[in-house]
């Protein structure tokens, strides 16, 4: 951030909104946007307490007579599989992804930011290039590869990329962060005889905590929400993640289990929303810096 020092600049009017009328208009505008933005989230909370057949038609946000049947219905699971199984699978996928990203991306970022090796610029450009590459070009050939290797219907295809630093966004985020760390620290460590391994582990990593936290939370949420990966690679309901398992609630033969769908939607959103509430500063700051000095 520049030295604006928290001073705020507006549409063109320097300084803050002037006067009470301006401030009122500002809040009215912001509240209007807020109402539209939050409506779907509030709606899903209210709807999950409505009886299944009222969910679509009723206009009140919260039912006069709330019922818990949608949630108790979840306890029965779906197609003989407990909802807890989906949650365990998603948790395994998300935590496995976080571990992979933290290790592989930070190692790569350290090399880019701190080791002057031959070919570094070329590799860095390649890495930035993969940031813009549509993932879908890789979909078919990767599937063919994992199918030939007998790894379809396992979590290997979903996780392996995370351990091989293919998520360029996080490498980039960490490189940006590491470049801003004072160089004197590792030069001093170097004079004391520390090698790169030691500098990476004892100096750079601890100082990178904010970038690591941001990457970890984004990774967790991305894996939790991931739909296409599990859809393509997992084909046995016992291995389904939450997002894939949820799809079993959708209308089959014209009858939708709306109550189950909506209650499950809410339950599936909860971890993401809680993470967001707890760590929103890391997420938003991480997002904000990604666009600057890119």
């Amino acid at each position: 951030m520049s030295g604006a020092g928290g001073k705020v600049i507006g549409t063109g009017a320097p300084g803050r909104v002037r006067g009470r009328r301006g401030s009122l208009a500002w809040h009215a505008g912001a509240l209007l946007v807020l109402a539209v933005v939050l409506y779907p989230v509030v709606w899903v909370v209210g709807a999950s307490f409505k009886p299944g057949r009222e969910i679509i038609g009723s206009l009140e946000l919260f039912p006069a007579g709330p019922v818990l049947t949608n949630f108790t219905g979840l306890a029965d699971g779906i197609a003989d599989i407990s909802i807890a199984t989906f949650f365990q699978n998603s948790l395994f996928y998300a935590l496995g992804s976080v571990a992979g990203i933290l290790v592989s991306c930070s190692l790569t970022a350290y090399a880019f930011a701190r080791i002057p090796f031959a070919g570094r610029n070329v590799l860095f450009s390649l890495m930035i290039g993969t940031l813009l590459l549509p993932y879908h070009v890789l979909l078919i050939p990767q599937y063919v590869m994992f199918q030939k290797a007998g790894l379809v219907n396992t979590y290997v295809p979903l996780l392996i990329g995370k351990y091989l630093a293919t998520e360029a966004f996080f490498v980039f985020l960490m490189v940006q962060f590491m470049r801003n760390l004072p160089r004197e620290l590792d030069e001093a460590a170097r004079l004391d005889g520390c090698g790169h391994a030691r500098i990476y582990w004892s100096i750079v990593l601890p100082l990178c905590r904010p970038a690591l936290i941001t990457s970890a939370i984004f990774t967790f949420i991305n894996a939790w929400n991931d739909f296409m990966g599990p859809l393509i690679y997992l084909n046995e309901p016992g291995k389904y993640t939450v997002s894939l398992g949820m799809m079993m609630f959708r209308d089959q033969e014209g009858v939708a289990n709306y109550g189950g769908m909506i209650a499950m939607s809410l339950v599936a959103l909860l971890p993401v929303l809680l993470f967001f509430l707890a760590f929103q500063r890391y997420l938003i700051d991480g997002m904000a810096t990604s666009g600057l000095k890119g």
């Binding site: 951030m1 928290g6 705020v8 600049i9 507006g10 549409t11 063109g12 320097p14 803050r16 500002w26 912001a30 946007v33 807020l34 933005v37 779907p40 989230v41 969910i55 679509i56 206009l59 290790v103 190692l107 090399a111 002057p116 090796f117 610029n121 860095f124 590459l133 549509p134 070009v137 890789l138 979909l139 078919i140 050939p141 599937y143 063919v144 392996i160 091989l164 293919t166 940006q176 790169h196 990476y200 939790w224 929400n225 739909f227 859809l231 393509i232 997002s243 949820m246 799809m247 939607s265 809410l266 599936a268 959103l269 993401v272 929303l273 904000a288 666009g291 600057l292 000095k293 890119g294």
Partner: protein, 322 residues
Amino acid sequence: MGTAVTLVKDSPPGTAPARLGAPGAVRRRRRGENLAGYLFMSPWIAGFLLLTAGPMAASLYFAFTDYNLFDAPRWIGLDNFTALFDDPRWQKSVEVTAKYVVIGTPLKLLLALGVALLLAQSRRGQAFYRAAFYAPSLIGASVSVGFVWRALFSDGAVVDRTQSFLGLGSGGWVGDPGRVLYSLVALTVWQFGAPMVIFLAGLKQVPRELYEAAEVDGAGPLRRFWSITLPMLSPVLFFNVLLETIHSFQIFGSAYVVSNTTCGPADATLVYTCYLYQKGFKESQMGFASAMAWMLLLAVALVTAVLFWSQKRWVHYEEDVR
């Protein structure tokens, strides 16, 4: 990207060698750095070869073959590409995707910029609104929100009732081939928070003195926006346009879920990736699907190239960065 330049910060001549003395030591040290560099990079290099470069080459080869995953690929030259251009569903998928990108991305970015400008005016409450507006970007791609969207845009649900009340016709959007795509546009616009956060950060970096000087010179708010805010914000705008456009080409999950896995009705939400998925994973036409993927890559590369070419005209980079 200007970042690559800052990388070339090799040790300035005279410092390190002087300390280490003999040229042999320098060479040894340099070799040591190379070894360390490639060691640290080895996961990325393995991933790049195994999961990016290799598959890309394979995909290019498949694009010229007839391949069903079980029999060996059979070389058929350009047949997949000619078949693709003759395929009405492929044309439909191009049309649907183009419409989605061209309508959704500008709307989303305009809203993001507008709200960022609004929020930037006052510090009170800014952090709260910023967080609240950002939240949809985190959950927008989830199946949960897809379900919610399908429900909100069904017959007799809130969107239907609102439009009837306003006299704009009746019927839910998800069942109407003419309108269902707009429910997906609404879903992407709803996620304006991510680009908004980036715009806000960019606005904070505009030097305040510029506005003060302009005000002294008698420039009105519109003039100040046009001559100061917009040029100063243009690099951030460029970044947002580039990323949002590339992302929206790749929409899949929300179309798949909101359309109840059909990408319909009547192929009205058959976005490009949906068709690619159907061809590749439902019909096992790996060759055709690979050809499709390469066409998508070409389209994205073309758009990226045009954007980078156009930035000379409208993106204003400060001379004295760093």
